[in-house]
């Protein structure tokens, strides 16, 4: 029933595609549609309640029979799959992403990550040396982050059916009492911050995938952010919500926040920190740095009075170097992100459609 496209009531349904297209996995509009129209209705609970299917789910551990939260401890639960090609790039590899990415999804809801699982789909013929290097990276990343990989699974598929290796990690964490992060807490006037310079991961991957030389080596920013988050919470900064701008970049993340919070976001282009090498690469290829993936950054929406304090806390941590305020939550244009350009004009920052396409001329 739920997979029948003719039943969907959204005015712009997925009528144009009868098969999966690459755009469905890019973290943009196509992906959002797939989740809204295919997954969420299919995964509705017995009582018809539809889950958020957001980055990390919160499960109330003391849920009573009558349903509804008790304000008690909540379990954060998240999963992610990692299919990046090439598997190794300046600054890291698939294994680093698999560990840090899931730790970050758990941390973004304010939870302290406790443990990870790791499931592997391996293609027959994958050199064990490569698998070994990947798995060593994962172990090292997990130890550095202090979040152990405690369980997992391995499957092998025939040669030609698996693209080397796919990794899926899941993570659990506990959200401390009193911590309540999410779009429901966002208010007009809130400050929008980013924890550091953007665009590094996407450009690092592009630089080896398509053989570009961008001058200085661009390294992925892959990193676990739970320490940064813990610092903000410890300092009692009024954090409304956090999100990590991965596929689709800061543009996608701000659009999600704007839509979920039902408010507008105004960004100031000149305030967004973009490393020169990233800016160069984006200029060459006609990409917008706001849409380029990050793997070691967070976007924080904080109460306006706490913006300065939040930036100080972030800057005090090596992973928060270069943190900056990039905009504000506004009452105008709810659900839409607008950027003030350097010249004083303005432009809408849209949710990226699908994969960024290389320019023509």
């Amino acid at each position: 029933m739920v997979a029948d496209p003719s039943n969907w009531s959204c005015p712009v349904p997925l009528r144009h595609h009868e098969t999966v297209v690459l755009g469905h996995g890019s973290g943009g509009k196509l992906g959002a549609e797939l989740i809204d129209h295919l997954f969420r209705p299919a995964f509705a609970a017995a009582d018809g309640a539809v889950t958020d299917l957001g980055d990390a789910a919160l499960v109330d551990l003391e849920r009573t029979q009558a349903g509804g939260g008790t304000g008690g401890p909540r379990l954060a639960f998240s999963t992610d799959s990692f299919v990046v090609q090439p598997r190794s790039f300046p600054g890291g590899n698939l294994g680093d992403l698999a560990v840090n990415g899931t730790i970050n999804d758990v941390a973004m809801v304010g939870a302290t990550p406790l443990a990870l699982s790791a499931a592997f789909v391996l293609e027959e013929g994958l050199p064990l040396a490569e698998l070994g290097a990947l798995v060593s990276s994962m172990g090292a990343a997990a130890r550095r982050a202090g979040v152990p990989i405690v369980t997992g699974d391995t499957k092998v598929v025939d040669r030609g059916h698996g693209d080397g290796v796919y990794v899926t990690t899941a993570g659990v964490g506990l959200v401390p009492q009193g911590v309540d992060l999410g779009p429901h807490r966002v208010r007009v006037g809130d400050a929008v911050l980013v924890s550091g310079p953007i665009g590094l991961h996407g450009i690092a991957v592009l630089s080896v995938r398509d053989g570009f030389e961008f001058g200085a080596d661009v390294e992925s920013d892959t990193a676990p952010l739970h320490g940064l988050v813990a610092g903000l919470l410890r300092a009692r900064v009024d954090v409304r919500m956090l999100r990590d701008p991965t596929r689709g970049g800061v543009a996608a993340t701000c659009n999600e926040i704007a839509v979920e919070a039902g408010a507008g976001i105004e960004l100031v282009e000149s305030a967004v920190p973009v490393p020169e090498a990233v800016a160069t690469a984006c200029e060459l290829l006609g990409l917008d740095p706001l849409e380029v993936a990050n793997e070691g950054r967070l976007v924080a929406v904080v109460g306006p009075e706490d913006a300065e304090a939040a930036l100080e806390v972030l800057a005090a941590d090596p992973l928060g170097a270069g943190a900056a305020r990039i905009g504000s939550v506004t009452a105008t244009h709810p659900g839409v992100v607008v950027a003030r350009t350097g010249l004083g004009g303005s432009r809408v920052i849209d949710l990226p459609l699908a994969e960024q396409l290389p320019r023509i001329c």
Binding site: V12, H16, V21, L22, H333, G345, V348
Partner: protein
């Protein structure tokens, strides 16, 4: 960063804007031909910051947008063939043909590759002699030299599995056609900077003289665009009708002689139908007879193409500057980047895409 920060300087932009405002005493309509310039203008909000009396009319300088529907359909038919590896610039991948687009052909199993240069396609042909590699050679004079060079390299390497599907278009005939239209309201032009890097400025001198319109060769950064506009407005106010070069750091009067030689060797002028506009005589380039061996149109018999354009799409009027994207009833409703009716909504240089992406809210301007 060289050429980027300097040409984005807000203080210098402000002083150029003030100068333009001082000089503008009457309403003027100025057309920027190149889609890249359209995007630059909309993206930086330049049109919002110019005096009210100055109207910027967006021209047909988006090669993706003006590639004939029949050519797109032909490309789709070739790309769907099992023996073909079809290489294209990314922009063309989502342009709607009569029934489908290249990305959908790819999803359906077609070997469609997004490349950055025709030389990437050439390498693919060398690497796999069993595949027929086709490169979608569209674009204005800017992209043509690389395509011509790809043909000469293919000949030098005696490749039998490489061909070009050519659909080049030329700027001067388009300007001529626009100026000759009875309802033409354009009074001055910003000529496309990178086209002129290749071709030089001679053709535009003659256009300016014959039609008595000021034409200023203009670049793409905010200060370039503002300086180009400033010079056109200055001429209009003073009754001037000359060709001026405001992009001297990249454009010489003779253009690029090496590029022009290889273009002349490989291509010849032909009539071309521009999508949404119609036939413009002598406005295109095709492969010369002696290069027939590399012509994908001859190599692949994909006959029986009937192009069907959606009725609601007003791309033609947008491309000629006769209506703005927001004046089209389908804009933002039936026609969005997600569900485009026409090419200008999908191309990264299309006017409709620029308006949708940056301007559909008419957000307030901070002056």
């Amino acid at each position: 960063m060289r050429y980027l920060d300097e040409f984005n300087d807000p203080a210098l932009a402000r002083s150029l804007l003030d100068d333009i405002a001082r000089r503008t005493t009457r309403p003027w309509a100025v057309m920027e031909v190149c889609g890249g310039q359209t995007h630059g203008i909309i993206r930086h909000g330049i049109d919002q910051l110019l005096p009210e009396q100055l109207t910027l009319v967006h021209g047909p300088g988006c090669p993706v947008c003006v590639t004939p529907l029949e050519t797109i359909d032909r490309a789709l038919a070739i790309a769907a063939r099992p023996e073909v590896t079809f290489c294209t610039f990314g922009d063309m991948a989502r342009v709607p043909g009569s029934h489908t687009d290249l990305l959908s052909v790819k999803a359906g199993g077609g070997d469609v590759r997004l490349v950055y240069s025709p030389l990437d396609a050439l390498h693919l042909a060398e690497e796999d002699p069993a595949r027929q590699v086709v490169f979608f050679a569209i674009g204005f004079e800017t992209t043509a030299p690389a395509n011509a060079m790809a043909a000469t390299l293919a000949r030098d390497k005696a490749l039998t599995n490489f061909s070009l599907l050519v659909s080049h278009v030329l700027v001067p005939p388009a300007i001529e056609a626009i100026l000759s239209a009875p309802d033409c309201r354009v009074q001055g032009f910003l000529a496309a900077g990178h086209v002129c890097t290749v071709m030089g400025t001679g053709q535009y001198e003659s256009l300016a003289a014959r039609h008595h319109v000021p034409i200023v060769v203009t670049g793409f950064e905010p200060l370039d665009l503002l300086e180009g506009i400033r010079r056109v407005v200055t001429q209009l106010e003073e009754g001037g009708a000359e060709l001026q070069n405001a992009y001297a750091r990249a454009v010489r009067p003779a253009g690029n002689p090496v590029a022009r030689r290889v273009l002349d060797e490989v291509f010849e002028t032909c009539d071309r139908t521009w999508r949404g506009i119609g036939a413009i005589p002598a406005s295109g380039w095709r492969l010369r007879e002696e290069w027939a061996a590399f012509d994908a149109e001859r190599r692949f018999d994909v006959g029986g193409i009937t192009a069907v354009e959606p009725a609601a799409c007003r791309a033609g009027e947008v491309l000629q500057g006769l209506c703005t994207p927001t004046e089209c009833p389908a804009f933002g409703t039936a026609c969005t980047p997600r569900t485009p009716l026409g090419a200008p909504m999908v191309s990264s240089e299309g006017a409709c895409a620029a308006y949708y992406q940056y301007r559909r809210l008419e957000a307030p301007v901070i002056r």
